[in-house]
Symmetry: C2
Subunit: 160 residues, 2 copies
DNA sequence: AGCCGTTACATGACACATCAACTTCGTTTG
DNA sequence: CAAACGAAGTTGATGTGTCATGTAACGGCT
């Protein structure tokens, strides 16, 4: 079926790329969950919170930054709030708005999780490739990303 | 935060790769859903059914082939059965087993969906890259995949 | 002041995925 | 042959994502 649509080189690239992502994602997610009890979604939110001053984001701004839908982020924050990783604070000056704020526990969690995650990224991908390959992968990614963001809608995605 | 762990080239590769996948996946899933009403999961199952003679798979074999857990596949098949895309048939000779069989409706659905999906793959990725880049992507993918499958467990993934 | 469109966020229903049982049947093996 | 083990699938609880919709508040305009 596929043979009629993609030639050998194309299909090899497509399959390899896809399989790489699948395996990498599940491996990293598994390691993260095992070592820290965090999901990738948790990690994404926490790592973005810890990077900014005040360790807080307005919901919409964060959603846009990590390219999630507002709804998705809202649900995620609700769950994280229940686990004490973040809290919501009503925004002064705009009674509609809210801040997501990192808690002590959230800070501890992300501090612990970061080495785990990034060493996984290294071990399972970065360190396997040459500098040229890394540059090439960067190029490829940017080409595709640029094409897909030419005017398209933002959210509706699945990760960062 | 990240800066301490990955240098510029590495981080660029990592981010671009990740963003590429996210955007590509959501774009393809969106187009597929819009044009055909199928999800990526549906597509994966259907496209594997249509390729084999008899248009049928034993559940475990299919699950292994597409690297899903049995449970995941079972749930998915249940939902697809409700929509008339596939049916289950008890296996002769092994009273535990069952076949998933493509229905007429399922065949129609996949026949319609395949051009949509593969043209999307082409437009949003394959045709944007040079032959060299495709080969390089294939190489990269295979390196990472090989590393991750050295002995690791099978399922626990998220797609095909 | 009153209306109106927009913004910020929440929520409920449903699709999807995972894990941990659990059933049922097949296959060894003592 | 019976007990034990393993294989094939199912099921239910739970977590996570999406879409459509809801609610409140803001801001401009008349």
């Amino acid at each position: 079926m596929t043979a009629k649509w993609l030639d050998e080189t194309e299909e090899r690239a497509w399959r390899a790329y896809r399989r790489m992502f699948t395996l990498l994602e599940s491996t990293l997610a598994g390691e993260l969950a095992e070592h820290t009890g965090l999901s990738m979604a948790d990690y994404t939110v926490l790592s973005n919170l810890v990077e900014v001053e005040g360790r807080r984001w307005r919901l919409t701004a964060l959603a846009e930054h990590i390219r999630w839908s507002q709804s998705r982020l809202s649900h995620q924050i609700t769950r994280m709030e229940e686990r004490g990783l973040v809290v919501r604070e009503r925004a002064e000056g705009d009674a509609r708005g809210a801040w997501v704020v990192l808690t002590k526990a959230g800070l501890r969690a992300i501090a612990e999780a970061t080495p785990t995650h990034l060493s996984g990224v290294r071990r399972h991908m970065i360190d396997l490739l040459t500098r040229d390959q890394l540059r090439e992968l960067g190029d490829i990614g940017e080409i595709v990303v640029e094409h897909l963001t030419e005017d398209r809608p933002g959210p509706g995605s699945t990760m960062a």
